[in-house]
Subunit: 410 residues, 2 copies
Amino acid sequence: MTTSNLYIYDSLTRRLEKFTPATPPFAGLYVCGPTVYGDAHLGHARPAITFDLVFRYLKHLGYRVRYVRNITDVGHLEGDSDSGEDKITKKARLEQLEPMEVVQYYTDRYHDDMDSLNVQKPSIEPRASGHIIEQIEMVKAILNAGYAYEVDGSVYFDVRKYNEQHHYGKLSGRNVEEMMAGNRELEGQEEKRHPADFALWKKASPTHLMRWPSPWGEGFPGWHLECSAMSAKYLGKEFDIHGGGMDLLFPHHECEIAQSNATFGHDTVRYWMHNNMITINGQKMGKSLGNFITLREFFSGNHQELARAYSPMTIRFFILQAHYRSTLDFSNEALQAAEKGLQRLLQALETLDQLKPSDISTTDAAGLAENAMRPCRTTSTARWPLRICLMPLKPSMQCVTAGKPFPGKT
Amino acid sequence: MTTSNLYIYDSLTRRLEKFTPATPPFAGLYVCGPTVYGDAHLGHARPAITFDLVFRYLKHLGYRVRYVRNITDVGHLEGDSDSGEDKITKKARLEQLEPMEVVQYYTDRYHDDMDSLNVQKPSIEPRASGHIIEQIEMVKAILNAGYAYEVDGSVYFDVRKYNEQHHYGKLSGRNVEEMMAGNRELEGQEEKRHPADFALWKKASPTHLMRWPSPWGEGFPGWHLECSAMSAKYLGKEFDIHGGGMDLLFPHHECEIAQSNATFGHDTVRYWMHNNMITINGQKMGKSLGNFITLREFFSGNHQELARAYSPMTIRFFILQAHYRSTLDFSNEALQAAEKGLQRLLQALETLDQLKPSDISTTDAAGLAENAMRPCRTTSTARWPLRICLMPLKPSMQCVTAGKPFPGKT
């Protein structure tokens, strides 16, 4: 294995930390994937591409990487809170479909979009609905540890109790007392002892479509639970990197930390990495905000905000040329600049290939070209590995130059 | 909806039956998918392509089709019996991987292969490991109905008891008494009261990797259970068509019928459809038999039995030009004949497109060409819809002529 001096900015300690995996040569990476109730937009491309690079880079360094990226197909309620309708159920109701048809349809399209962006498939892609038992077992463990309580078929995490022994808010920097003061009483929240408490298991109303039997009656898991349960199942009780978008810092990842500590008695994640947001007119691009442009719209140009179509590799380059922890503002000008930058880079690589050193030259042109095609090996630094590794490995370069077609649908 | 006179040969009644779905305009189709522990071979392509055509044809007739094709990722033991090692666990152990990494890897490759063959994605693709709760609930129901018994953490279906009230063997034509006489005592089978009994739930040995808690201790579901549980979940307690290869008639589909009857008190499937086998030198091509050629080997030509590479559309045409209930013997000659046949068909279509009728012609050449591209509409008959609908719908024809590239991997 290559000796590396990889440093990662850890969102929890808020400083650069030298990367030392728990059990080398293995490295475990867990990244929060999409909630599959609509087409992926530019905001979804950013974590996928950012952590695709982390995945490739760790493999490049010689680690045997197990990359787990989940599919959220149950439990994610509107407004990201513990009330409202399940996002997928709502879509299914509107389109008169079985929820799992919605899940399959948008999962397949997400995969196609990721293929277009040359994002490698994760090692394991677990679905929340496929791990109900694991989640129920975790709820039981948290109840046994005294950090949860049951009310009428639902189970809530007891944040105040947890905060007596641990620090709820350590990742996001929030303070439980402030959260309490700032929280409005929302519909369906009256069962909670404390407004900051969150659902581990929700009782299903009589008409709720997605439901499973549990020790507390028929219901479904809370949104935050799946990632704690599935990361522990596939990466163990201590694993290396947990990634996701900064919008997931709170409440999602904060709740994951609390759940894992309540279950195992310790943190499970060694390094927390968060990519920043894509903005549009200065506001986060998000499905719930309605200001998003889907990847398919970028590829086709069919959106009023788009001057024309942009290729998947332009989108990839646009995202990778910014530092992953900075916001990145969408504009047609920025995309066109990225397109030109990518073309220049590809032209330079072609030129390098064609260079013929003279007989008396001491420069190894072939070696230069080869190294240029493997940017990570020669240019990795401690501080900015993601900034420099703009391009994926060699085979995908061929895709770029050959104009990789979009996956065909019939 | 188009009025249709679709007749289906039902493997259970052994005659052509007029297709009348349970709840028109909806039609439900369940097909047994792959056990994902190796690359798909020609034998896997046949049910996928056969039922792809059924799926397309039912949609073409105007039905709103929900097509469920499962992924078997747990419980399928070596030798297709109730003893031996789980096929996926064995592969994972040999390759030092988490079983779900094996599952993900071969599932992704299966999807790529199906895309190459222009097989449409099913509406829902449930995984056995993702439906453990549903399977446990079914075991409970069968126990409650008195058709199963528990022995030391495993639960077996009581075939003799079931056969007193029902007919075990009605699909495959086998006789329970003969099965009893013909069955050897196999290792791990001594818990069974009757050699024909089969496992609904198996106790996990201490080293078994894939395991879940259950009312009978830690274990995993029997292979046959997943299809009964998942078809009922996504298509209901009565649904239209259950498909699969003839090699699944016994024991798999016979056991499904028994499980569903024991649970719901009635048959759940209205029409059973089975495709026949691909043979090689007269013997069934199968992974367990070791005489298989993978689809990727066909596409690349890298196999000692192959004279050269064959395109995915040649494979598709080869399979569709035989009746789905006949065996189809692999040979290079037959594949090359299929390739020529496909070329001739495509040339004829191109010629039709170029035909210019004279001003006084009464023939509608454009209309002819259009109809030729939609073969199902004009040529469907009651008896042989699968024989005649050789080609998929129009967009994929373009893929054929344009030489659809294989999905790229990096």
